[in-house]
Symmetry: C2
Subunit: 333 residues, 2 copies
């Protein structure tokens, strides 16, 4: 195993977020499942956007948000994801590179536009996502940069990659390269409905040790094991993953291995403005903690800290330096 | 004079804002004049953007921000401005229409991209703008919708329109139509440097009664009359404009006519996050007050209320209902 050039490399659907504050009636009127990510086609995207109020745009994409968070903590980060060579793709590319993330996936020159998620934020801060994958559908195994994967301590993959048709092959290719080079492979389960679509495949990835570290929230975990019993689901996770981290909103998180279960509290937040990116930024803090050699509890606290930052403003990218926040909380190296 | 279909119609440079938090050192390193609007070409835009951190995008444009504010207070509003038929132009068009503003200016099918302003926000909340006019340069007298102008109680124009080569002709055409139909014409002086570029022409517009109502901040007013003496400048304004409104940041504003000078305090704000749009939203509140028949003092308070809302978050478009805010402050009809 050579010295790693990157601490964490993420692979995901590169998605530009179009966010608007709305109310529960809007979700109901448009048949949206609150808190979930729904895949939509171009026609539905157009209809949803037409109905939405004035928006704010910020680069997003689950794994990309995580990787930007990792870089913001001060670690070396890289990203693989597909945009189109269009105006929105250019904004996206700027933002991730400006966040000091190595990003060199060639943009699509033709085909669908850069992917967008139409995100409705209700007064309780909950976000409901309608994602048009667009160019993210064109991520293929050819986009997997073998040298970069081999040179990254952790490869972080999002469950959402199971949606575009060839991205799962890219995913599996990346995981194999990582393991062949003695690296760790992490997976976030992404969304309870996504777990519903790919439950068997996700369990295969875990049980076949294609992935080592699993991130999930409570809904995703209980969906994975088709139970309402959290403790039962957690026990199964401890069998199926080398390391599992389950986030529980204001109840904090649980870090679980075969030998230990470590609960970590959430950071108190005065007002939840927009939960978009909460799980992504939690993962950023946890991964940063792992690569810096923190304990599981400290890594969980770093995750909680980053999640608390991101839910206090619109958008899934940090607006306050996570490195400085970590220092302020005695969590720097 | 027929019954008005619109309360206020705005004409301005349609500009998409790309905002980033930065520090004073960045402004200095890139030779930017803090607090000002600098016009930049495509090459400079590319260089500035390359140097900027990860951004947030929100539709902007001075008069457009004002008109969105007017609509948000509950008045009937329309806008004329030029975008290109590109991705950013489509975002722009969505946002202004979603704010319930009538917007039908045909987008440019060729030529430069939709205009963008690269806005640097320093920790004190001050914004420094670098504007690439793009398609806004292609606004011409042909875009002036005569029927809409004739049907608007107030036509509101931005001084920035003097920058694109043919927009000033559009401006003068619109003002003439408005006056021929017994409507009021308002002008914001926009920016102290803009006043420096077009001082003589702005004074001609005022003294020739092409415009009736002038909005300015202190720096613009003192630049207009080339004096450091505010009271002297205000006296001159009272000669040159039927109605003048001068904003003075945390000191509030002064509403001046030949016969009266009415000072109005600012609304207290706990934290100034981003002053982008402060003047634009002040104008929105004041114009709303005027068309609803409020006193000058009340109109000034409505302006102060809207300005206070917009400086407490990133971006120049309101995030809280101005109609509800006005009701909460006893300023509804």
């Amino acid at each position: 195993m050579t010295t790693a050039q990157y601490d964490v490399l993420g692979i995901g659907n590169a998605i530009f977020d179009i966010l608007v504050k709305t109310d529960d009636a809007f979700l109901a009127a448009h048949g949206m499942s609150k808190g979930a990510m729904a895949l939509i086609d171009e026609a539905r995207a157009s209809a949803v956007y037409q109905a939405m109020g004035p928006a704010t745009e910020i680069s997003g994409g689950s794994a990309a948000n995580t990787i930007v968070g990792v870089a913001d903590f001060g670690a070396r980060a890289a990203y693989i994801g597909k945009v189109k060579n269009d105006q929105i793709g250019n904004l996206y590319t700027h933002d991730i590179r400006a966040a000091k993330v190595a990003f060199d996936t060639p943009p699509a020159a033709s085909g669908p536009a850069t992917g967008c998620s139409y995100i409705l934020v209700t007064p309780d801060g909950e976000r409901t996502m309608n994602t048009y994958l667009g160019a993210a559908q064109d991520l293929t195994p050819a986009d997997i940069d073998e040298a970069k994967i081999a040179a990254s301590k952790i490869v972080y993959l999002e469950g959402y990659l199971w949606d575009p048709k060839s991205a799962k092959e890219a995913f599996v290719k990346a995981a194999k390269i990582a393991h062949d080079n003695g690296r760790m492979v992490a997976l976030t389960l992404s969304d309870a409905f996504c777990v519903g679509r790919y439950r068997a495949e996700f369990l295969d990835l875990m049980r076949g040790r294609t992935v080592d570290l699993i991130f999930a929230n409570e809904a995703e975990l209980t969906s994975l094991y088709e139970t309402q019993d959290f403790d039962k689901a957690l026990t199964q996770l401890r069998d199926d993953a080398t390391l599992g981290v389950v986030t529980r909103s204001e109840k904090g998180c649980v870090v679980a291995t075969r030998d230990s279960v470590t609960p970590v509290p959430a950071f108190p937040v005065s007002q939840v403005v927009d939960t978009t990116g909460a799980g992504d930024l939690f993962a950023a803090g946890f991964l940063f903690g792992l690569v810096r050699g923190f304990t599981h509890e400290e890594a969980g606290r770093l995750g909680a800290l980053a999640a608390a930052e991101v839910i206090q403003h619109i958008g899934a990218r940090p607006q306050t330096s996570l490195k400085v926040l970590a220092q302020q909380h005695g969590l720097s190296v």
